[in-house]
C-alpha cells in the first residue's frame, strides 16, 4: 500500500515536483526527460515504483506513458536524468502492441521466454498462466493465427512468464473479452501479494479504478499527480485533466 509520508504529489501542473526516494523502491525514474527531435515525450519526471503495490499510470493518448515504460524496461534511454533499477530487479513488460514469435505456438513462445530467466519458475507456472489467462484453447496454435484478444493475452503471459518482481502492463485489457478481463483482474490483484508490483498504463482509468493502490497521472509528458487514489478515481482523474 502507498506510503503517504513519502508520496510526492503535484496537483498543479505548473508547479515543480520534488521527489524523495524511498529505500524500498528498486525501480525509479529521477529527473527524466525524453525528447525525440523537437518533440518532448517526458519532461523532468521523477517517479518511483514500490514493492507490493498496484500502481496506475494514467493519462490520455500520447501523454508519454509508453515512452516511460520503454525506459523502465531498458528499451530506450532518457535524454537526461536517470533510471534507477537494481541489478537483481526483474521486470516483465506487456506491450501495447503484442510482441511474440509469430511462427511459434502460444506454448512454444511461453517456453522460449521462460528459458531466458536465470532462475525460472517451475514449469507448473506456465500451466497456471495458460489457465488464468484463458489461453488453454489456443495453447497449440501458431501465434500469428490468434485473434486480437488471444494475442494480447499471450503478450501478458510472456510478461508474466518469469514471474517478475515488477510487471509493466501497457493497456493490458485491450481487445480482451469481459469474462477474461475479470479473470485477469483477479489474477493481477493476487499477483501483487508477496511484494510484487503491477504497474498498469492505461487511458481507461475505470477499468482498474477499484484496484489501484497508487495513482500517477501524466499529461503531455508532465507529471500531473502522483499519490494515493481517492475513492472516486474516475472523478479524480477527470478533475486532474481539467
Amino acid at each position: 500500500m502507498p506510503d503517504s509520508d513519502t508520496t510526492n504529489t503535484n496537483t498543479d501542473a505548473n508547479t515543480t515536483t520534488t521527489t524523495t526516494m524511498t529505500d524500498d523502491a528498486d525501480l525509479a525514474l529521477v529527473d527524466v526527460t525524453k525528447r525525440y527531435g523537437e518533440t518532448t515525450a517526458l519532461e523532468t519526471l521523477s517517479l518511483e515504483f514500490r514493492p507490493g503495490t498496484f500502481h496506475g499510470l494514467i493519462g490520455p493518448n500520447g501523454s508519454g506513458k509508453t515512452t516511460l515504460f520503454a525506459m523502465l524496461a531498458g528499451l530506450t534511454r532518457p535524454t537526461s536524468g536517470r533510471i534507477e533499477r537494481s541489478s537483481a530487479t526483474t521486470v516483465g513488460y506487456s506491450f501495447q502492441e503484442p510482441r511474440f514469435y509469430p511462427s511459434l505456438t502460444v506454448r512454444e513462445n511461453l517456453e522460449i521466454f521462460r528459458g531466458f530467466a536465470d532462475d525460472p519458475p517451475p514449469a507448473s507456472w506456465l500451466e497456471t498462466l495458460l489457465e488464468e489467462l484463458r489461453l488453454e484453447p489456443a495453447a497449440d496454435r501458431r501465434a500469428d493465427e490468434l485473434s486480437g484478444g488471444f494475442r494480447k493475452k499471450l503478450d501478458l503471459g510472456l510478461a508474466l512468464i518469469k514471474r517478475p518482481q515488477y510487471l509493466l502492463l501497457d493497456e493490458p485489457l485491450a481487445d480482451v473479452d469481459d469474462y477474461s478481463r475479470r479473470r485477469i483482474r483477479a489474477f493481477l490483484d493476487d499477483y501483487c501479494e508477496g511484494d510484487r508490483t503491477v504497474v498498469v498504463s492505461t487511458h481507461n482509468v475505470a477499468a482498474f479504478a477499484d484496484a489501484l493502490d497508487r495513482l500517477t497521472v501524466v499529461v503531455d509528458g508532465d507529471l500531473r499527480y502522483d499519490g494515493a487514489p481517492e475513492d472516486d478515481v474516475v472523478s479524480q482523474y477527470r478533475s486532474l485533466l481539467e
Partner: protein, 354 residues
Amino acid sequence: MDLLALLRKEAIGSRRNLGLLVVLLLVLPGGIVAGTAVFEQTVPQDVPVGVVADEEASEGDVAITTMAMEQFATPVEYDSDEEARDDLQREEIYLVVHVPGGIMDEETDANVTVVSDHAFAPLEEPINESLGIAESELDGAVASNASIDHDQVGDERSLSEFLVPTGVFVFVTLYALVYLPYQLRSERLVLDRLQTESRLETVVASKLLFYGAALVVSLSAVAAVGWWLGYNVATLSPLTLGVVGVTFLYLAAIGLAVTFALGLRQTALFVNLGLALAIFGLSSLVYPTGFFSSRQGTISELLPTYYSSVTTRSAMLRDAPASLYADYLLWLAATAFGSLVLLQLSLIWYRRRR
C-alpha cells in the same frame, strides 16, 4: 471512380515507401544496366598469365612470346615453374607459358608450351581459340617455325563439376545476404521483447550461429547429389567448410548490418538483393578475372567474394593444400571481422534511433 480512388491510394502509398521504390525502380535497373559496361567482350581480354623462361631462352625469346600473349592476356614473368603452377592453382594466373630457347633462331622449330588447369573447365574453349591467335602472331613475328602446345594439369573436370562450387557460392550468397535478413525481419515485432530479456547482439549471434551451422546440412545435400551424379567434388572437406563458413559470416553480417541500419524496413531486403546481384556480376564466378575487360578484372580483385569463389572452387576441385590459400583465408577473415564491426555499429545506430 473506383479505379481512380485505388490509383490515388497507390500514389499515396508509393510516397510513403519512397525509399523502397527508389531502390526497386531506379537503383536496381540502373545498376544492372551500368553493370553491363564491364562485360565488354566474349573472348579473353586481359587474363593474367604466367611466363616461365627455360634456361636456354634469351630475353628476345621471352619478349616475342610475351608480345604474342598480350593479344588476350597480361603476362607476368615467373622465375620458376613451381611458383607459376602454385599461382595457377590460386587463380592468380590462368595459364603458364613455357618459353623455350631459339624462338628467334630461324633454323629451330620452337615449341611454346602453355599449361592450363583442368579445374577451370569453361576456359578450355576460349583458351584454344586464343592460343590459335597467339600462335599466328608468334609464327608471323619470328623466323623460326614456332608452334604452341596446350597441356592441362589436375584431374579432368566436366563443366558440371566446375559449376558445383559456383552453385554453392551463389547459394551461400543468397542465403546469407537475402534469406537471413528476411528471416530476422519477419521476427521484427519480437525484437523489442527480446531486448527486455537479452541483448540484441546475443539475438544476432544466435542467428549467425544457427544458420551458419545449418549450412552443413546444405553442403551435405550438395555432396549427396554430387555423389549420385558421379561427381568428384570435395564438398565436405575442412577447407570447403572453412571458406563457406567465413563467407557466410561476412555476407550475413553485411546483410544484417544493412537491415538494422535501415531500421528493419523492407527497403533493406531490396538493397541486399541488389548487393547479391552485384556480387554475382562482379566476382568472376564463371570466367577468369579480366576475361571480359580490364575494369571487370580490377573490380573482381578488390572484392572478398572473388577470393571466396576461388578458394571454394579450389577446395572442391583442386588437390591443393590449404596453406596455398592462407593469404586468401586471412583476407576473408579480416573481411568477416570488419563486417562484424559494421554490424555492431548498425546495432548501436538502431538502438539510438529509438
